[in-house]
Symmetry: C2
Subunit: 336 residues, 2 copies
């Protein structure tokens, strides 16, 4: 029996720019109704003009597909209320990066003095603009996210009306924080539901599984799976699909990022099914929860997946996907 997903949303996506944008945007646009587009370009997206230009480049790259790029601004503590009011209609959220923590995050926030961030965060709170955060400290790589949880909690406490989305969570500590504060939400990637550090570095080293935050311990993956499979209402799918050219991955100084956009739905159906979770829960995880959290009405798109073997391509136009060359159980049958 085919499985139908209604208006899937990817609430954390890297579309890049230039040539790479043209390669990857159509792949997301084919199966998703929309995606929250990350602003970590070089230079980052920090003005109304840049948002509008980037959106038009995305739409041009997509062609005729029925797909909405939900735009984000790169957080800067200098944003005033007036500025935010002037861009509010063009954005869905603002993304905060701690400085230097991931790809093109050099211009991010150094230190987390609530005082320095207060004017901008208060204005966002009043205007109802959600804050998305890449929550990692600059501590030891396996501890960075857990060490950031108190910062999430402090922000949640100081700005109780601000919707704070803990992006691409990877630890049981972040999962536990979800239920401690009403205004904390989370996205979870496909790959963090499937792999641990053992898959990255437990056998041979696998550069195409290397990402930030790095995949964690088995008990962390279990905690993520638990809330995703149960369609916890504060949890949304965000692929964090992050394409890099093959030569930037298979080299010394391999870039962080796993490319999952074109195979995410197929793998998620299989993952939910193999774990005995109802397809209704996947529908919530992949779309309904995000609609409620972000108050979105996505464009109508029905993705029909059929149980027939699909071999993940070795490469998509220069970008090696997650689990390249493996055989999946589900294939995209039609998109209406």
């Amino acid at each position: 029996m085919p499985t139908t997903l209604h208006s899937p949303l990817d609430m954390h996506l890297h579309l890049r720019d230039g040539e790479m944008l043209k390669r990857v945007a159509p792949l997301s646009a084919y199966t998703f109704s929309g995606a929250l587009v990350m602003p970590n370009l070089v230079p980052p997206v920090t003005s109304k003009e840049e948002i509008l230009e980037y959106r038009s480049r995305i739409i041009k790259a997509i062609g005729n597909e029925n797909f909405v790029p939900y735009m984000t601004l790169f957080f800067q503590p200098t944003y005033t209320r007036e500025f935010l009011e002037s861009v509010q209609d063009e954005i869905t959220a603002i993304k905060l990066y701690p400085a230097g923590i991931t790809t093109n995050s050099e211009g991010g926030v150094s230190g987390f003095e609530i005082g320095a961030l207060r004017p901008t965060l208060e204005a966002m709170s009043e205007l109802g603009i959600p804050l998305c955060i890449h929550g990692e400290t600059n501590g030891f790589v396996m501890d960075r996210e857990a060490e950031f949880v108190p910062i999430y909690e402090s922000l949640a406490l100081h700005f109780p009306k601000l919707k704070i989305i803990m992006e691409h969570i990877t630890t049981k500590e972040s999962v536990a924080a979800l239920d401690r504060f009403e205004n904390l939400y989370a996205t979870i990637t496909l790959h963090h539901l499937m792999i641990t550090l053992d898959d990255v570095a437990g056998g041979m080293l696998q550069p195409h599984l290397f990402c930030k935050p790095i995949a964690k311990r088995p008990e962390d993956r279990e905690a993520l799976l638990r809330v995703a499979l149960a369609a916890h209402p504060k949890v949304m799918f965000g692929s964090d699909s992050a394409p890099h050219p093959r030569e930037a991955k298979e080299c010394p100084g391999c870039a962080a990022g796993v490319f999952t956009a074109p195979i995410a739905l197929q793998m998620l159906v299989e993952l939910f099914e193999s774990n005995g979770a109802p397809i209704e829960n996947l529908q919530k995880f992949i779309s309904d929860n995000a609609r409620k959290i972000y108050q979105l009405t996505p464009v109508k798109k029905e993705v029909v997946l059929q149980k027939s073997p699909f071999v993940v391509p070795e490469i998509y136009d220069g970008v090696v996907p997650f689990h390249a060359k493996t055989t999946l159980q589900y294939t995209i049958h039609t998109v209406i």
Copy 2:
């Protein structure tokens, strides 16, 4: 003032075979008096004939250098006392690999039933043949060595006269075990004294720093440094220098191993100096402790290191070394 090291010994070295042996053996033979040569070839070294043939290939590869390859046998629980007596004069130790735990270890030991290992280990104990162990379980990659410590301790307890060397230790748990049993010893690599998982995967992913056991946490590195810098009498230098062709490292499925042999002495002098440890301690770590533990009398070799900048080559005949292209403070001046 130049620094002189007397008859340095590398008590854990991979020389490989064939073309790779010819490339790397002369590099170790130039600055070391001898090295304990690991037996994980394909197929592994398990007979007297294989030991003698491998040794003669090593000696041929080295040429005229004044260097002794101390040979090891690949542990098999089928070795009888008669067999061990027949090979005893040709080997310095026997190396035990848990099955599948590292490069070419597929033929290693599965499970650690003391009963099944007893006849061989008792014979080794009686004959005075040291047992070197790659101590990792098949658990989560960051826990494998700590989980193996109880196995080390059980072996130490059951075979109190058997010298057991915990190879390339990487954790504070292994360091702590050293002092709990008289017959437990350890080798420590250069790279585990210098890096943690942060260096491997905390920024960009660095395949040339990927090895087994994987580099651990900062507190683990501190524990290793403490006993190495203090020249703990049960601790010896073993580089675990493990060459792979560049193309086997910079690819999906990157092989485990860091290549340090040609720059180990230069880096160790700098490491001890920068940490305020006396050069006498490095002399013990690099040679004297091993002489006592293994009861060796190495060939005389004086390595004079001069404080003058040395840029680590980008590549040694197809093999990328540890910290390629960085500038070291010490250079090899003369070897007498």
